[in-house]
């Protein structure tokens, strides 16, 4: 088979060769040239287990002493086991509520606002913990 040249292709695409600003000492690579940074991701800070993380919005003033204000977004992790003193989302009396969980000396849901009284959880009452609040997103500039 014979091949004929029918024309020449245009300019070959330019190959960009990276220019390293660090001087590269012969023999031993600069440790600095390995430093690569990427942008910070807030999820990394606030969401440890995405499949188990839900967002809810706080209403009312019962948690203002915990720094939770009406309209704030709460990051809720369901995979965490609720411990004494955790701020939790609890299912109580057919509603979702955000309170501080106390397990000792007795089980109580405690509002973080002196003007509200703690809610005792009587023995045998149904209290289910929806999840543990890990982060509060409080926007300082209201829309």
């Amino acid at each position: 088979m014979k091949a004929n040249l029918i024309g020449r292709a245009g300019d070959v695409a330019r190959l960009d060769i990276p220019l390293f600003l660090d001087a590269v000492p012969a023999g031993f690579p600069s440790p600095a040239s390995d430093y690569k940074e990427r942008t910070l991701d807030l999820n990394e800070l606030c969401v440890k287990n995405p499949a188990a993380t839900y967002f809810v919005r706080a209403q009312g003033d019962s948690m203002i002493e915990a720094g939770i204000f009406p309209g704030d977004v709460l990051v809720v992790d369901r995979s965490l086991e609720a411990r004494h003193g955790d701020v939790v989302i609890a299912e109580f009396n057919g509603e979702l509520t955000v309170k501080r969980l106390e397990l000792k000396p007795e089980v109580r849901l405690v509002p973080m606002n002196r003007r509200h009284a703690p809610v005792p959880v009587p023995e045998g009452a149904e209290l289910e913990i929806f999840g543990v609040v890990t982060t509060v997103i409080h926007s300082l500039r209201k829309p």
Binding site: N49, P50, A51, A52, Y54, F55, V56, R57, A58, Q59, G60, S62, V73, L74, R78, S79, I89, E91, F92, G94, E95, L96, T97, V98, E128, F130
Partner: protein
């Protein structure tokens, strides 16, 4: 020994509706199909009231009213998100996982020492992390795992986990299971089997596989082998490539105007194009149909379809929309009360199978890709929408969704509020 688990969410749609609504616990809940037509999910309480699966809502209206059954429209934004969470949670239990449907997955558990304990751990973890209950069926074949799951759901004393590794347990369950409950046995096949005197799953398991192949199919022969513990169906690590992509809906109310129906058709076309890009595929064939309802006596009946071919395989909404509108003009007929329309894309291929032709420059392809990516990104960001002139997507006007719950997990303005 080969060992599969089928993890299946219990009353998945109802469980999703209950997730942020503790007040719905232990009360009857049902979820309706697209367009609020039929009941597609029932909580155990609704089932106990005798509300059947697939029943149109109007037929049980009296029961719904008397027992205060809570009724929901399908909220696929919510179900899809919860489904993804369940699957992601299951991945930690086995590297080999096949997502079988929105609420079921097969896991390869070969080599797990104590399957029942492992099954319980799966169950507890999904319940804890995601918040929906699941049942686990474990067995040496996928068909038996399906059956084990059926038992786990049906019999409360199993604690939601059934292990059918032992042959005597398989036999015991097969004997009390109607043949129609076996995976892969449809209603028609079940009826013909019953004529042969095959009424239980055990009867089917005892059939001669070759006879089954001759009389029915290779597929059913495989089912028989699987019922006897011989694994014939492996995990499909990669789901089969899609053969076609469809978007088709019934209109909430009958449409008569050219402009209205055209808008609906364009909307379906844009949706299919978007789905196509999500699958990273290209289409060559475009099919469009429109029709009136066969039950609508108040106008002329009409049904028509048209198929066209794109000049070269594409996932560009512009190309697909242009073809669909041409097809639409070919089949449009005035004076009909249209009830349904749909767009199907077929002859799909992946971009690397495409031979660029002489007249399309690579630049065009690149520009098209970038434009479509930008449109999809904006439309998925939740901050705004872009659509083509022919579409009118701002409302779900073609769908009745009177009982829709909020998109609790996918829209900031819909996240649940707590006091």
């Amino acid at each position: 020994m080969r060992r599969f688990a089928l993890v299946d969410c219990n009353n998945f749609y109802c469980s999703c509706e209950r997730l942020f609504r503790p007040d719905l616990k232990r009360v009857p809940v049902v979820v309706l199909s697209n367009n609020d037509g039929c009941i597609v999910a029932r909580s155990p309480e609704a089932r106990a009231l005798g509300i059947g699966m697939g029943v149109p809502l109007f037929k049980v209206r009296e029961t719904v009213r008397r027992h205060n059954v809570r009724v929901f429209s399908s909220n696929y934004a919510l179900y899809g998100d919860i489904s993804a969470r369940v699957m992601q949670t299951l991945e930690r239990f086995s590297p080999d996982l096949e997502i079988y449907s929105i609420d079921e997955a097969f896991l390869d558990l070969s080599g797990v020492a104590s399957p029942v304990a492992y099954g319980q751990e799966i169950r507890a973890t999904v319940r804890r992390h995601v918040g929906v209950p699941v049942s686990v069926g474990i067995a040496p074949t996928k068909t038996l795992a399906k059956l084990a799951n059926y038992a786990a759901k049906r019999f409360a004393e199993t604690g939601g986990v059934v292990d059918l590794s032992a042959p005597h347990k398989q036999r015991r369950l097969l004997a009390i299971t109607p043949v129609g409950e076996v995976w892969g046995v449809g209603r028609r096949i079940a009826a013909s089997l019953q004529k042969l005197g095959v009424t239980t799953a055990l009867d089917l398991a005892r059939m001669e596989p070759r006879r089954i192949r001759r009389r029915f199919s290779v597929v059913l022969e495989r089912t028989v082998r699987e019922l006897n513990g011989e694994s014939c169906i492996g995990l499909e690590a990669m789901p089969a490539a899609k053969k076609q992509i469809v978007c088709s809906r019934s209109f909430g109310e009958k449409l008569t105007g050219y402009a209205e129906v055209r808008q609906a058709v364009c909307e379906f076309a844009a949706r299919t194009a978007e789905k196509l890009r999500r699958e990273e595929l290209l289409a060559r064939m475009v099919h469009l149909f429109i029709r009136t309802s066969p039950f609508d006596g108040s106008g002329p009946g009409y049904s028509n379809a048209a198929t066209g071919t794109l000049p070269c395989p594409s996932a560009d909404s512009r190309a697909i929309l242009a073809l669909v509108t041409r097809l639409f003009d070919d089949i449009w007929k005035d004076g009909c009360r249209y009830a349904k329309a749909g767009v199907m894309l077929g002859d799909l291929c992946s971009p690397d199978q495409v031979q660029p032709d002489l007249f399309t420059a690579g630049d065009d392809q690149d520009r098209s890709d970038r434009l479509m990516r930008a449109i999809d990104a904006i439309n998925h960001s939740g901050r705004g929408k872009i659509w083509f002139g022919g579409q009118r997507p701002q409302t779900d006007w073609f769908m009745r969704r009177a009982h829709l719950s909020p998109a609790y997990t996918t829209r900031w303005e819909c996240i649940p509020e707590v006091c």
